[in-house]
């Protein structure tokens, strides 16, 4: 009891902190499913950067370390600690639907980032479309390969596809979208392998692709590290000059650097939505309406358009 009294001022000050009119800050909780991927590190960095322009909010980050149950628990912790807005980038849909719905029903606005949950018990979904990005990559690749002398002479282009973890939906969509984009084009997929998003694995698969194929015109990898690993394999074999490399993600410190170095011919951005999430959070805190869903537009980067900040995918 006495200890409880000791804590009273602390609790009171915390309560004040949640009310900016009293000079405190609004609390925004960000539940990230894992920070093992550069793309998700970038998402948090984007949120942090956007939040710096808004001194009235404070963002608290939690990393679920790729564990669904841990993320579920962290969402509960955020709600109990009285966050004013919750941003969640969920690991998977079904098991995280109930905790998100619970937070929503208890009056906490929830912004779901990147991967959707089931049902409608959240405030807003922000995400990009991997299938669209894959299709754009396919269309770009088809038109790029049509310029090859061998294709113009009536031959077919030979393409290697290095896939992300094929049990994950982003990899499935980047694959099916790509196949849609190249449909009808004179392209043969001569080698395809699952490199599980990992650069060393991609390099190993590309070494095998090079061993069994005397001619490869283009490599399409589901992420930029994969495309980079494939390039390293081709370079070691002395065959990098004859091959076009295309990747996905377009992170500033990764894919765009590779494009700038001339390693990748193109990288297709998969936007994080971090900035948009902070903008929505600010609107929600000021009781302004936000749309149910924001489909993020995506850019692609080539050496020619890099200095202009890329080109938007229609």
């Amino acid at each position: 009891m006495r200890i409880g009294i000791l804590f009273l001022p602390l609790i009171a000050s915390l309560a004040c902190a949640a009310d900016p009119s009293a000079g405190g800050k609004w609390l925004v909780g960000m539940s990230q499913c894992n920070l093992g991927e550069p793309w998700r590190v970038q998402m948090n960095a984007d949120i942090r950067a956007a939040a710096q322009a808004h001194p009235e909010i404070e963002v608290v980050f939690k990393d679920a370390q790729n564990d669904t149950l841990r993320q579920s628990a962290q969402i509960g912790e955020f709600v109990n600690s009285g966050v004013d807005v919750l941003i969640v980038s969920p690991k998977e849909a079904a098991p995280l639907t109930p905790p998100i719905a619970d937070a929503y029903r208890r009056g906490v606005p929830v912004i779901v980032l990147d991967r959707k949950v089931l049902g409608k018990a959240f405030t807003q979904f922000i995400g990009a479309d991997n299938r669209t990005i894959g299709r754009s990559a396919g269309l770009w690749i088809a038109s790029r390969l049509a310029q090859l002398p061998v294709v113009r002479a009536g031959g077919r282009a030979r393409v290697v596809e290095l896939k992300g973890l094929m049990t994950s939906t982003p990899a499935q969509d980047r694959d099916s979208g790509f196949r849609e984009g190249i449909r009808g084009a004179p392209i043969d997929i001569v080698f395809e392998a699952d490199m599980k998003w990992l650069e060393p694995a991609s390099r190993e698969e590309m070494e095998s692709a090079l061993a069994v194929n005397d001619r490869i015109d283009l490599v399409y990898a589901h992420n930029d590290p994969g495309a980079h690993g494939a390039y390293l394999a081709a370079r070691a074999a002395g065959r990098a000059d004859g091959i076009i490399f295309v990747g996905i993600d377009g992170l500033p410190q990764e894919g765009r650097v590779y494009v700038r170095q001339g390693i990748l011919a193109a990288s297709f951005e998969y936007p994080t939505g971090g900035r948009e999430a902070v903008e929505s959070a600010i609107k929600l805190l000021h009781k302004e309406p936000v749309p149910r869903e924001i489909r993020l537009k995506s850019r692609f980067f080539t050496r020619d358009n890099l200095s202009r900040g890329g080109e938007w995918i229609p």
């Binding site: 395809e192 699952d194 390099r203 070494e207 095998s208 069994v212 390293l232 410190q253 990764e254 650097v257």
Partner: protein
């Protein structure tokens, strides 16, 4: 008479390990992917691929001989690849200083594991599990979770670019007209060092004695604590070597590098015929184990076997290889 001769030959561990390797290689000759398996470049690539794992397996062998296990090697690899990239890419340190400092850091982490095991008497599995988690955290913290690459981010978010130090090209490249990767030579060097330690030095016998029967070794005057410190320290040193090789090959320091590599290193040591119970084994067995695993992965890859079948086949063939050894031993 001939039967006993065959049996005696099959009683030798390295003959059995060689049999397992021959089994895998013959599979490769059978499924040669249109002749790809018969070209030297395929073997060169396999050797490059297995080198980083093999370097880890050298340290693992030293630890396994003492009856221990080192789960931290994958994380130390990641930590040291980040450190090496920070020192040489971003810090502008010379190659020698960067390599020296990184190896020192690896040795230090290994010695910490060794101290926890030998002096604090924490079980090797637990002590190195803790070190595995800690070193991964340290790698992520020091890199800010981002890969340390040629792109350097300024505080205002803009990027500048640094040139690739020559050490990266040298270590990540190949020699003899591109016919052998430099990392494979490094692997060879690590094998040689481990062989000298295990087969030529007095401390090698101490490692075997410690793993065979620790109490008996202690009573007969073997410096058990120092022997264990040596094993874990060298394991850390080899993990740092592997980290430098990994960074040089990827042209960056990745804080996630080496995740789950410790399991492959253990598999290499065990498939070669080193006993997890300790006291028995040798570095030649580890080399044979590395080649077996390397060829297995390469054969599945050049034949473009799907991921699910690949995992099942790898599991089945590992068990087959180990059973083959056991059966002939009996």
């Amino acid at each position: 008479m001939r039967g006993t001769l065959v049996r005696r030959w099959l009683g030798i561990p390295w003959v059995r390990a060689l049999l397992a390797l021959a089994l895998v290689v013959s599979l490769g000759c059978l499924f040669n992917a249109g002749g790809a398996f018969l070209r030297w470049s395929t073997h060169r690539d396999m050797l490059r691929q297995i080198s980083v794992y093999g370097i880890l397996a050298c340290g693992m062998t030293l630890v396994i001989v003492t009856g221990g296990i080192d789960l931290a090697v994958g994380s130390i690899l990641g930590l040291c690849s980040v450190l090496f990239a920070q020192l040489s890419l971003h810090g502008g340190q010379g190659a020698l200083a960067a390599v020296g400092l990184t190896l020192g850091a690896g040795l230090a982490t290994g010695l910490v594991s060794g101290t926890l095991v030998a002096r604090a008497r924490i079980q090797p599995f637990i002590a190195t599990l803790a070190m595995m988690v800690f070193a991964r955290g340290l790698a992520k913290w020091s890199s800010g979770g981002q890969k340390i690459s040629q792109a350097v981010q300024a505080p205002d978010g803009t990027f500048s670019y640094v040139d690739l130090p020559r050490a990266f090209d040298a270590l990540g490249g190949s020699v003899l007209g591109g016919n052998i990767a430099v990392v494979t030579l490094v692997f060879g060097g690590c094998l040689a060092v481990s062989w000298v330690v295990l087969a030529k030095l007095r401390y090698g016998r101490y490692l075997f004695a410690t793993g065979g029967n620790e109490e008996a070794a202690r009573l007969s005057g073997v410096p058990v604590v120092r022997a264990k410190l040596l094993a874990y320290g060298l394991s850390g040193l080899f993990a740092a070597t592997a980290g430098i090789c990994q960074a040089a090959q990827e042209l960056q320091g990745d804080p996630e590098a080496g995740t789950s590599y410790e399991l492959t290193a253990i598999a290499i040591a065990v498939i070669g015929g080193n006993s997890l119970a300790g006291g028995r084994g040798g570095i030649g067995l580890t080399l044979l184990g590395a080649l077996t695993i390397g060829y297995l992965e390469k054969i599945l890859s050049i034949n473009a076997v799907g991921e699910s079948s690949r995992l099942m086949l790898t599991g089945a063939i590992i068990i087959a290889a180990v059973l083959l050894q056991r059966k002939k031993a009996g």
